[in-house]
């Protein structure tokens, strides 16, 4: 084949040439978007079968999640923990590991932050907060990093291990909150001692949502740079695509796996820090709120791309924000939003099979018209 054959024929419309260049890139956006719309359509059928109006449903989702400053506050308040929990799934996933136990790292991170905050009560605010966040990230990192180590050193299935370790984490959390670290004044709701006001993370200036969203956005950006713009990330992607090839190339697969799982766990731990320092003010059972599990959904919908995690977390945050209004206005059970998310999740997973199969996304399709 000579270079001439690959040149577009003279006189071919500029439009086709542009599309030939654009469509392969558009695949990554159009397939998930199409899948999302298909999910909406199927859920509409479901609502129709129940005798409810899909238009009213989507109207309420819009109203509660995205229509006003309050809606955005409601949505964004969920984005921080969701995006950070999603990173705990996405980072190991780039190495081919399915880790679903982020919840454990979140609660332990929260516990570490609360205990550190109590110990450091005498320190000025910012250094103490920094240390609390670091403690949360270290404990979260150790917890999920251990799952990576078990995988590498002992061949333990990381999915099962992470799930079971999450149960262990929650049991440990309850033990410490109700035992050694319990504030004696917390009679009917065992909690750690309340944090001093100086150690509380406040709201952002323009919206009543705490700084966790910004931290999550920065974390996503950082992970994207790490994965897409560094040799370390490149090595991780190779190991994720073909672990044998990576080993043959002499890549440090073991260290990559442990490092990436630990980093993911550290971000989940950071989510725990924000839950304690910005929302609850102490560690107690309210911390076990299931963000770690919704984070799995976010990571899969974002196809483990850290940059996509943020918009997906906003979308899901908006869906969840609308749960209450849908319950109250349409007289639907609270599980409605879960059914909705479930349908969208399944369709998005199914759409994975379409990548590379649809000819309209190949340059050839447009060049030979």
């Amino acid at each position: 084949m000579s270079a001439l054959d690959q040149m577009p024929a003279p006189g071919r419309p500029a439009m086709a040439r542009a599309l030939a260049g654009l469509m392969p890139r558009a695949e990554a956006v159009l397939i998930p978007a199409g899948a999302l719309l298909a999910g909406f359509a199927i859920f509409s059928l479901f609502l129709g079968a129940l005798g409810k109006s899909p238009a009213e449903f989507f109207g309420l989702v819009w109203k509660a999640g995205f229509s006003s400053a309050f809606s955005w506050q409601n949505t964004l308040s969920r984005v921080g923990p969701l995006a950070l929990a999603a990173l705990c799934v996405a980072l190991p996933a780039r190495l081919g590991l399915v880790v679903i136990g982020g919840e454990g790292a979140i609660v332990l991170g929260g516990l570490a932050a609360a205990v550190t905050g109590t110990v450091l009560a005498g320190l000025p605010g910012y250094p103490a907060m920094l240390l609390m966040a670091v403690a949360a990230m270290i404990l979260g990192g150790l917890w999920i990093g251990a799952i990576g180590a078990l995988r590498i050193r002992r061949g333990v299935n990381e999915t099962i291990a992470s799930l079971l370790m999450a149960y262990i984490a929650i049991a440990l959390f309850n033990h410490f909150v109700e035992g050694p670290f319990r504030d004696p004044a917390s009679l009917n709701k065992p909690s750690t001692a309340p944090l001093a006001e100086t150690l509380r993370v406040g709201d952002m200036p323009f919206i009543a949502t705490h700084w966790g969203v910004v931290a999550a956005a920065l974390a996503c950006l950082l992970c994207w740079v790490l994965i897409d713009r560094t040799t370390l990330g490149f090595a991780a992607r190779i190991a994720g695509d073909n672990v044998r090839a990576a080993q043959v190339q002499g890549l440090p697969v073991a260290r990559l796996v442990i490092g990436f799982t630990a980093l993911g766990g550290a971000f989940a731990g950071l989510a725990g820090f924000y839950e304690v320092a910005a929302v609850h003010g102490s560690a107690n059972a309210s911390l076990i709120a299931g963000y770690g599990y919704t984070g799995i959904l976010v990571a899969f919908l974002a196809r483990h791309n850290p940059l996509a995690i943020l918009p997906v977390a906003i979308l899901l945050g908006g869906f969840e924000a609308s749960s209450g209004l849908v319950q109250r206005r349409m007289d639907l059970p609270d599980a409605t939003i879960l059914v909705f998310e479930g349908i969208v999740f399944v369709i998005i997973l199914l759409s994975e099979a379409l990548y590379g199969r649809l000819r309209i996304f190949t340059p050839g399709y447009w060049e030979h018209r």
């Binding site: 309050f70 308040s77 009679l187 929302v279 107690n284 109250r328």
Partner: protein
């Protein structure tokens, strides 16, 4: 001639921009309510048909729904996280709620404490008795002394048990729960001082698998009357009945689940409390920030006695109930030791249900088999 009325392009653009802005902000403005009308929001931590804690509140909400000029909003399965703040704000902003009943214990601190100052014209009524001087005045708390209900449960249990062993499935070893366990055993011992009560803590407010395991374990040990303090007693009831044990209910009426095996039950009576509070609120009267009551005040009630309760049991039950209604009755009274042998109450010493010393209870009385840690 003035320019008044003349359509000036700049002026037109200015006003339409302002109108658009106002429309956009419209989402923020509270929906206007007809004078005298009130929107009341109820928030539950679990499903409102759990045969337990949340159902008891939902029954109260249903009574409020019947009142004229009141719109009731309900939301179930709201975690004690940022979620409940979002739900409260959503009810206020989107539905114009003027009175909120966030019913779970963990909703108060920090969630209600954070929102109440922000919405000074909305009233937050929290179930759990946590409000203290210095907290926002548009917030309040209410709770009932349900320990007496468990004492009456104990009397019914004491008459029904043949093995002299009764069982208690408990969530967490916190003062409220310990008070219920102790009251249940002391009620049974008022019938027969040889009765013992085995307690098993599940560690969670709602954990069906462990609740079933605990109930089975109690039945295995020969307990033939079982009660509980978990959010939803459904699993405990059904498992106990399947094992041939009698059931004393808690939170709500579980007789539909237990049938003839249901002796009685200690129920919340939120319908009366809620309609009362809403009436006062609508009339503009002051609602106390700290409201508490027991059996005599209509805060709690007992399920009707089941067919398995003997005549002697019925008579003692009614007699003690009468004493409680009259006031001054104490379940915890001397001479009394805890199950580690420490003296709880000396001879002649008594703690009535309103005694604040009971609010920091950290012991199980003699006769209760189990430990708080």
């Amino acid at each position: 001639m003035t320019t008044f009325g003349k359509l000036n392009r700049r002026h037109f653009l200015g006003t339409s921009a302002a109108a658009l802005g106002a429309a956009a902000l419209g989402g923020l403005a509270r929906p206007a309510m007809a004078a005298g009308d009130l929107t009341v929001g109820f928030i539950y931590v679990g499903p409102k048909d759990d045969f337990g804690y949340n159902q008891a509140h939902a029954e109260g909400a249903a009574a409020v729904k019947e009142m004229a000029g009141v719109t009731v909003l309900e939301e179930e399965n709201v975690p004690e996280s940022q979620d409940v703040q979002n739900t409260m704000e959503s009810m206020i902003n989107f539905d114009g709620a003027g009175l909120l009943f966030p019913t779970s214990f963990g909703y108060f601190n920090p969630h209600i404490l954070e929102l109440a100052p922000k919405y000074a014209d909305v009233r937050f009524e929290h179930c759990g008795g946590l409000w203290a001087e210095g907290n926002p005045t548009n917030a309040g708390s209410y709770f009932g002394y349900i320990g007496m209900g468990q004492y009456l449960n104990g009397i019914a249990a004491g008459h029904a048990t043949k093995s002299k062993k009764i069982g208690f499935v408990a969530a967490k070893p916190i003062p409220q729960v310990l008070n219920n366990i102790n009251s249940f055993l002391l009620g049974a011992r008022a019938v027969d001082p040889e009765i013992t009560c085995q307690v098993i803590f599940t560690g969670e407010w709602s954990l069906a698998v462990k609740e079933a395991e605990a109930t089975n374990a109690l039945a295995d040990q020969g307990c033939d009357v079982i009660t509980c303090h978990v959010d939803g007693p459904k699993v405990v009831c059904e498992t106990a009945v399947a094992r041939g044990a009698y059931v004393c209910g808690y939170h709500a009426d579980q007789s539909p689940l237990a049938g003839d095996m249901y002796l009685t039950g200690a129920e919340w009576n939120w319908a009366g409390v809620y309609t009362d509070m809403v009436t006062k609120f609508m009339a503009g009267e002051a609602v106390p920030n700290f409201l508490r009551g027991g059996l005599a005040d209509g805060f709690i009630k007992m399920s009707p006695l089941g067919p398995a309760v003997s005549d002697a049991g019925r008579a003692q039950f009614e007699a003690v109930k009468g004493e409680i209604m009259a006031g001054g009755f104490a379940a915890i009274k001397g001479p009394l030791k805890d199950n580690a042998g420490n003296v709880i109450a000396a001879d002649g010493e008594a703690f009535v249900e309103t005694d604040v010393a009971l609010e920091s209870m950290d012991y199980l009385v003699e006769g209760v088999l189990g430990s708080t840690s």
